[in-house]
Symmetry: C2
Subunit: 256 residues, 2 copies
Amino acid sequence: MREDGARGTQMLRWSLWHGYIKPVRLIIARCQVDYSGRLTAHLPFAKRLIMVKADGSVSIHADDRAYKPLNWMSAPCTLAEREPTEDERAAFDEELTAIWSVKNKGDDELRVTLGVVEFDNNFELGVEPGLVKDGVEAQLQVLLAENPGVFGAGWHLVRREYPTAIGPVDIMYRDENGANVAVEVKRRGEIDGVEQLTRYLELLNADPLLRPVRGIFAAQQIKPQAKVVAAERGIECKLVDYEALQGNDHAEERLF
Amino acid sequence: MREDGARGTQMLRWSLWHGYIKPVRLIIARCQVDYSGRLTAHLPFAKRLIMVKADGSVSIHADDRAYKPLNWMSAPCTLAEREPTEDERAAFDEELTAIWSVKNKGDDELRVTLGVVEFDNNFELGVEPGLVKDGVEAQLQVLLAENPGVFGAGWHLVRREYPTAIGPVDIMYRDENGANVAVEVKRRGEIDGVEQLTRYLELLNADPLLRPVRGIFAAQQIKPQAKVVAAERGIECKLVDYEALQGNDHAEERLF
DNA sequence: TGCTGCATATCGTAC
DNA sequence: GTACGATGTGCAGCA
């Protein structure tokens, strides 16, 4: 479980300190949008939704592709608004109403050429109490650490977040013969995770006090390519069932 | 360059066929949101922006974190709206106005408990002409494939997207001596890209018909750390100039 | 501040 | 449809 609400509260305090609260601004207008930065992207004139959030971010939405805007500028950034020049008015077959230049600290720029505006309003949202999440990788790791029996009888936990020079191994177990087993936990197992575990195993097996250390790649799903690479490296793949693990957990709670 | 506009046009046709055009719906309202699916997430009651797009997707926005909503359901999904029950009204210290259940084909559900509504309006956006992008990796790959001379005189292309068991190598060349060279193309060269190329080279050099295959890591920018790792692996780094390549391309067009 | 790793990633594309 | 890599990834945690 995790709380994400601190930022909203902090921003509200800042706003109050400065004597005003920035609202969310929603605009429905015809517009042309040009982004230049890590790539260049161009949107011809059409009617779109423009959202300016209290954090200064700007996003240009069409009526599809879920929450992803067509174009955007993330905070922190600054919005400069000006009147269109005569040349600009002459260059477009549109009634221009404003030119926005939204810039960040780098050299990225979002240029919005606004045409006819159908709607333009500000809304105060106030304090965001924050999101509570449950069921991400951290939780899988805790459940697996609490249930070494999932991997084999006689296994026990050495420790979670077992430290190494290049970062902590998710879980270290000792198997029924007392051999060390390093486990990398992912929600979805992909090649990167196998690479990560490989680096840990190289390091751990360089330590005469630990070796031999073998590896297990544990995830709710494992991509075929990751399986291939794991097999090449002599790493075992283990599919884990979050629901079943939670069940296990509750069963143990009842037993003890 | 790429056009992303087909979807919008297709959807408009579908809407016309079915006799109506779905608008974007914007709501400012107090609400509680509960998501259950790949994880569970909970948002306590607060005033937020709720966006329902023409594709059916629903997203719940706070006034920060740029374009990322606090909670969402992507299309395709269905929205069922009902009156709150007496029990529900009694359970909340809020004036409830509606209960939404948004479901997709899997077992994901976004439940929105609506309180006082400050604003609720529909807006027609019409046809989205589409986004034009330029300067992405695919373009670089095409340009390099067309210009083997960038790497050396007498080089020629074997093929783009050269297939291997763990995925396609971006470009395979043969150099002036007939030796194979595998090229990994990135916009920004980082360690991951070197790792990827390393895996390809391991595999390719295991094939007696191909070996020896050496590697080139080609990118517009290459991070110092990536250079170090590449050097360790005997991989050559090649900075490519997108503008110059385009110029090359045009020069060749003029020559032939 | 910069690097690392996760994400309800989303999105396009090849097979 | 599934698998896989790219992304203006965004974003949080941490050194």
